[in-house]
């Protein structure tokens, strides 16, 4: 009814290659972004900003990064937490060691440092594959955990290994209130999502996907595995690193290496898979699911009046069961569920 492609004829390939070739999609996404920028700041409570929206946005960014690596290039990584840590600590060091370093630049530099580390740990992927690689990437996780605890220089000789940042200042705009933080993250994430979307629908994106789906065939059509895999690691860790920096700077304010421990890596992988491998949109769905669900469950179980322990055990159980449930309903994630729904809508009211 409302959702129809009919009558939307593309007169140029360019038009067909837009991010959202279907007009309704474009409208919906446009409205959503506008809503997020213009309406949410007036509607949301401080709790919503600080405890849900900001972590949701930052983790979406990290999930986009991880999705590039896992979803698009097919290299499973369990070291994401480590790359986030690199981004956070590197950004911190740029801030603290270079006087007058703009925060934005520091975050980007954090991303770049994560890129370097990511590429380094990506080198084994040229030889090791699949689950072997997945487990091997834990090396990155544990090594960075260790390095930031042990090497004092990284933490500016802080005895405990934990660091904190001074005020966030974006070209004179002091980002202080939750709303400002939210807007900052939102802007950041929207730009990054746009860049990521552009990449995955360009030829580099096709190279990644080709590596994922069939690497021998990819080599035969002239794709260099080295280049494809390492760029995927690079781009992925760039986004992940920036997300790490934001996590430290904006969400936590002060952090220790444990903020980026292995559970973070697993959570991110969850987001990517629940959301949908190989889908930028899915990264958002996944992040929302993993950030919001436990909180909702927590609140619900507490509301029912269970003791804290029972409530949180129950939360664990429901959370685990829901993950399995979603995987069964749609192994390709929420994004696929979404597109199936769209397909149905397109056919509506005819069943097929």
């Amino acid at each position: 009814m409302l959702y129809r492609e009919n009558g939307q004829f593309k007169t140029s390939y360019r038009a067909d290659q837009q991010i959202f070739p279907i007009a309704q999609d474009k409208a919906v996404i446009g409205a959503l972004v506008a809503f997020a920028f213009l309406a949410v700041p007036f509607l949301a409570s401080e709790y919503l900003f600080r405890a849900i929206l900001i972590p949701f946005l930052i983790l979406s960014l990290a999930a986009i990064g991880l999705n590039i690596l896992v979803g698009y290039c097919g290299q499973i990584s369990l070291g994401t937490g480590g790359f986030m840590a690199v981004g956070a600590y590197a950004a911190y060091n740029f801030m603290i060691r270079i006087d007058g370093m703009p925060m934005l630049l520091a975050i980007i530099m954090g991303g770049l440092c994560a890129t370097v580390v990511g590429v380094l740990f990506g080198i084994p992927s040229l030889r090791i594959r699949g689950l072997y690689l997945a487990v091997a990437t834990l090396a990155a996780q544990f090594f960075t955990d260790w390095a930031f605890l042990r090497i004092k220089w990284f933490t500016n000789d802080s005895a405990s290994g934990s660091v904190s940042v001074a005020e966030l200042n974006l070209l004179g705009w002091v980002i202080d209130s939750p709303t400002e933080k939210y807007l900052f993250c939102l802007g950041f994430v929207v730009v990054c999502a746009w860049l990521a979307k552009n990449l995955v629908r360009s030829h580099i994106g096709r190279e990644w996907m080709a590596m994922r789906d069939m690497d021998v065939a990819a080599a035969v059509i002239g794709i260099r595995p080295v280049y494809a895999k390492l760029t995927a690691f690079a781009v992925s860790s760039f986004f992940v690193g920036m997300a790490g920096a934001l996590w430290g700077f904006v969400y936590l304010g002060s952090w220790e290496p444990a903020a980026f421990n292995i559970n973070r890596s697993f959570d991110l992988l969850f987001m990517v898979i629940i959301g949908g491998l190989g889908s930028i949109m899915g990264s958002f769905f996944g992040a929302a699911f993993i950030v919001v669900l436990p909180i909702v469950l927590d609140n619900l179980t507490v509301m029912v009046g269970l003791s804290t322990a029972t409530a949180s055990h129950l939360t664990y159980m429901i959370f685990g069961a829901l993950i399995v449930f979603f995987l069964i309903v749609e192994p390709h994630g929420l994004a696929r569920l979404w597109s199936t729904a769209k397909e149905k809508l397109r056919l509506w009211p005819f069943p097929h």
Binding site: T340, E343, K344, L347, P351, H352
Partner: protein
């Protein structure tokens, strides 16, 4: 007809909740016969076989309408393993050998459901090797490292190891050298006449399929568009033109074909 082994009754199959592939397919396979299922790419042959052997679930497909009966028993709810227990086994399209197992191990897994003792299994193994001598020479290689044709033989041999009553063969000729294709069909005939094994085979190679089959169904776009005795089908002008490549009597050289898509109209 009392000896109907398999009766497929107006089934619809949907993949992924949205893609409707079979739109009411009905067919019958009498006991002890070879029935061919013909049709172009994407007609739904594989899907039909999967529906019978209950392998649709793994592809996220489901039968939404109609019924399938084996000897009068409804079988839609059975698991693939239960189907094998009832003597119905499918040779999947695209080989699907167990890559890490050797050829012989592959064959032996086929005998998993057998209860009649080691000796009997060994005997069947010898029979399979006799049918496919090439497999015997490659028995210790991992299946993944054998050639495409060898894998095809392995897949067929593996199914035979179960001593089936009915075999669903999906594109047996694909990738086989011509004389092996002949051999495979000879084997089919052999099993059919000697051991009374019933076959339902999906084939693109219409020519040979109709030579060996008793009866044929032609499937296009998820519907049965024609069926009849194999002999009769072979004589049918449309079949000749579209499936045997012999428009106007003689076989045309592939070099000279210029396509004129009358077929599209025929199907509409």
């Amino acid at each position: 007809m009392s000896n109907i082994l398999l009766n497929v009754n107006g089934i619809e199959v949907i993949y992924n909740h949205v893609i409707l592939v079979l739109k009411g397919v009905s067919l019958q396979v009498p006991e002890g016969q070879v029935v061919a299922l013909l049709g172009g790419n994407g007609a739904g042959k594989t899907t039909t076989l999967r529906a019978v052997s209950n392998l649709l679930a793994g592809e996220r497909g489901e039968v939404t309408k109609g019924s399938i009966e084996l000897r009068g028993e409804r079988i839609e709810k059975l698991s693939p393993a239960q189907m094998v227990d009832r003597g119905v086994i499918q040779v999947m399209e695209g080989r699907h050998c167990f890559a890490h197992l050797t050829i012989e191990e592959n064959l032996m897994t086929g005998a998993y459901t057998r209860q009649d003792g080691k000796a009997a299994v060994a005997q069947t193994l010898e029979k399979v090797y006799a049918y496919f001598p090439r497999l015997k020479t490659r028995r210790t290689s991992q299946a993944a490292y054998t050639s495409g044709g060898e894998q095809q033989m392995c897949a067929i041999g593996r199914a035979l190891m179960a001593n089936p009553k009915m075999v669903l063969l999906d594109e047996p000729s694909m990738g086989l050298a011509p004389q092996i294709v002949e051999e495979v069909f000879e084997i089919v005939k052999d099993l059919n006449t000697k051991e009374k094994v019933t076959f339902l085979l999906a084939e693109q190679n219409t020519n040979i399929a109709l030579r060996y089959a008793d009866y044929g169904y032609i499937l296009e776009n998820g519907r049965v568009v024609m069926d009849g005795e194999a002999k009769a089908l072979r004589e049918n002008e449309d079949v000749k033109e579209f499936y045997l490549g012999m428009g106007g009597g003689d076989r045309k050289s592939f070099k000279d074909v210029k396509s004129y898509k009358r077929r599209k109209r025929w199907l509409a």
